[in-house]
């Protein structure tokens, strides 16, 4: 069985995915999980991806957003915000 990636490694890969998608498409948590499983096969599983997403959010590198559905994005100033 292949060695599993660590939570930090998965979080870093996910962060890069979110960064690359910024401005082009919004990614849902399940998109990140599916992409990881597709790209890394047995080195990741759903539970590991779930924990990595939690780490990404709690470290404030990414944020949840809601635009008709829930997404994961880089922190940014919201267009409609009244600062």
């Amino acid at each position: 069985m292949a060695d599993m990636l660590s939570i930090d490694e998965v979080a870093d890969i996910m962060y890069e995915m979110v960064k690359e998608a910024t401005g082009m498409r919004k990614l849902k948590p399940m998109d990140l999980t599916k992409n990881l499983i597709e790209g890394y096969g047995e080195k990741v599983d759903k539970k590991l991806c779930k924990n990595a997403i939690r780490k990404l959010i709690e470290s404030e590198r990414c944020v949840y957003t809601y635009f008709g559905g829930s997404y994961i994005e880089l922190p940014h100033r919201e267009g409609a915000a009244n600062d």
Binding site: K28, P29, M30, K34, K46, K50, I53, R54, I57, E58, E60, V63, Y64, T65, Y66, F67, G68, G69, S70, E73, P75, H76, E78, A80, A81, N82
Partner: protein, 402 residues
């Protein structure tokens, strides 16, 4: 202070009549807080222009959570600065909506300190709704509520705050302990409530009996409705009392039975329990004489939703009967199976009921490992959606033999 109030002739109309008025309540709150005063002005303007001035959704929330805060900004911040941010917080209500006055006072004090003071008790999902918070005050409000034992509920593409009827705490018809089950599921699925990971929302509602006081069959993706599988209990003397007190049992009970399973000969009532649809009508009509059976549990239904993309759905039967005993592991395992499939194959903003409709109930059942049974047929004479492969195999063998 009252002189500063905006003129609101249109929404003042909503104070007329015998009913409680949210306009009156906002005016009361406006005496001590600037936000409700601006809210009155904006609402009047919206009624006048027939234009909504709110934008909802976005990024705002509390640290680590992806649900429970709904961002709202108005598009006239210069005119209404005190509600330029007016975010909504959903707070997980206690099971059965039981509060002490002390607990309610704590919630209100926290909200008057940090927010507009306006509440909606309760939202359609069941949460305590705190209306009107600025972005800066979200985290302090959350921290103060957490110190008092309250947590934020669900919003977005996650498990919404589970809710239940008051069940065995006050209702003699409850076929299982709805409050215990609701609390247990809320604790079990904390991660799914706070961290959105689904194609769209998912709601649990727990009703103790088929009267379904929380309308779970219409308002939850998974409806867990109490029922029984033995016979309706009868007190013959009480039935006689109903008749002698003038009740027309034939007209008011027998003729209204959807299963046509009750007979009344003027002296004795008999029920063909095998044809009973468990609608509760006879029990509601003669509560002193009839009661649900003693072998109780729940029927699990799946798929209801309000109209958004598709029209409204009612839930339909997935598990006709299951005993409702902690830790409810069989149901939780089934839920996880369904979520895995829905997350894998579901489209964005597709509720599980819509997902089942798209992929077909037969395929859905096969994927989650549940055998089809007759009770799953939603309507009489509905076309069957399950193809029993063993019959195909038999046919194939016969054809091969020919």
């Amino acid at each position: 202070m009252a002189d500063d109030f905006p003129k609101t002739p249109l929404i003042d109309e909503l104070e007329k009549g015998p009913w409680p008025s949210f306009v009156t309540e906002i005016k009361m709150a406006a005496k001590d807080n600037a936000a409700p005063k601006d809210l009155l002005g904006l609402l009047e303007q919206s009624y006048d222009e027939k234009i909504c001035h709110w934008k909802h959704g976005g990024i705002v929330g509390v640290l680590g959570y992806g649900g429970g805060v709904i961002g709202r900004y108005n598009d006239l911040p210069e005119k209404y600065p005190n509600i330029s941010h007016f975010h909504t917080m959903r707070i997980n209500q206690p099971s059965g909506w039981y509060y002490s006055t002390e607990a309610l006072r704590k919630v209100c004090n926290i909200w008057e300190k940090h927010g507009s003071g306006l509440t909606n008790m309760h939202g359609s999902t069941g949460d305590i709704i705190l209306l009107g918070c600025t972005t800066d005050e979200l985290e302090p409000t959350f921290q103060d509520l957490a110190k008092e034992g309250f947590d934020i509920g669900g919003s977005g593409s996650d498990v919404r705050t589970p809710s239940c009827c008051l069940g065995k705490s006050r209702c003699e018809w409850a076929c299982y302990d709805t409050m215990a089950a609701c609390y247990d599921f809320t604790q079990e699925f904390q991660d799914e409530i706070h961290r959105p990971a689904f194609p769209y929302k998912f709601k649990f509602k727990f009703s103790g009996c088929p009267n379904d006081c929380v309308a779970s069959i219409a308002r939850s993706d998974m409806s867990i409705i109490g029922t029984w599988r033995d016979d309706i209990r009868m007190d013959k003397d009480a039935i006689t009392d109903y008749a002698s007190n003038g009740m027309d049992i034939q007209k008011d009970v027998v003729d209204l039975c959807p299963g046509k399973c009750i007979d009344w000969d003027g002296k004795e009532l008999s029920i063909d329990n095998s044809s009973c649809l468990h609608c509760m009508h006879c029990i509601n009509a003669m509560p002193k004489a009839l009661r649900p059976g003693t072998d109780t549990g729940a029927c699990i239904l799946l798929g209801s939703k309000a109209p958004i993309i598709e029209g409204a759905f009612l839930s339909s039967v997935l598990i006709p009967f299951i005993k409702m005993e902690p830790p409810y592991q069989e149901i939780k395992d089934l839920v996880e199976e369904m979520w895995d499939l829905w997350c894998e194959e579901g489209k964005n903003r597709e509720r599980i009921g819509e997902f089942i409709q798209r992929m077909g109930m037969g395929n859905f059942l096969e994927e989650i490992g549940v055998e089809p049974v007759a009770e799953m047929v939603a309507h009489p004479r509905e076309n069957p959606y399950v193809f029993y492969e063993e019959y195909y195999e038999e046919d194939d063998e016969e054809e091969d033999g020919d």
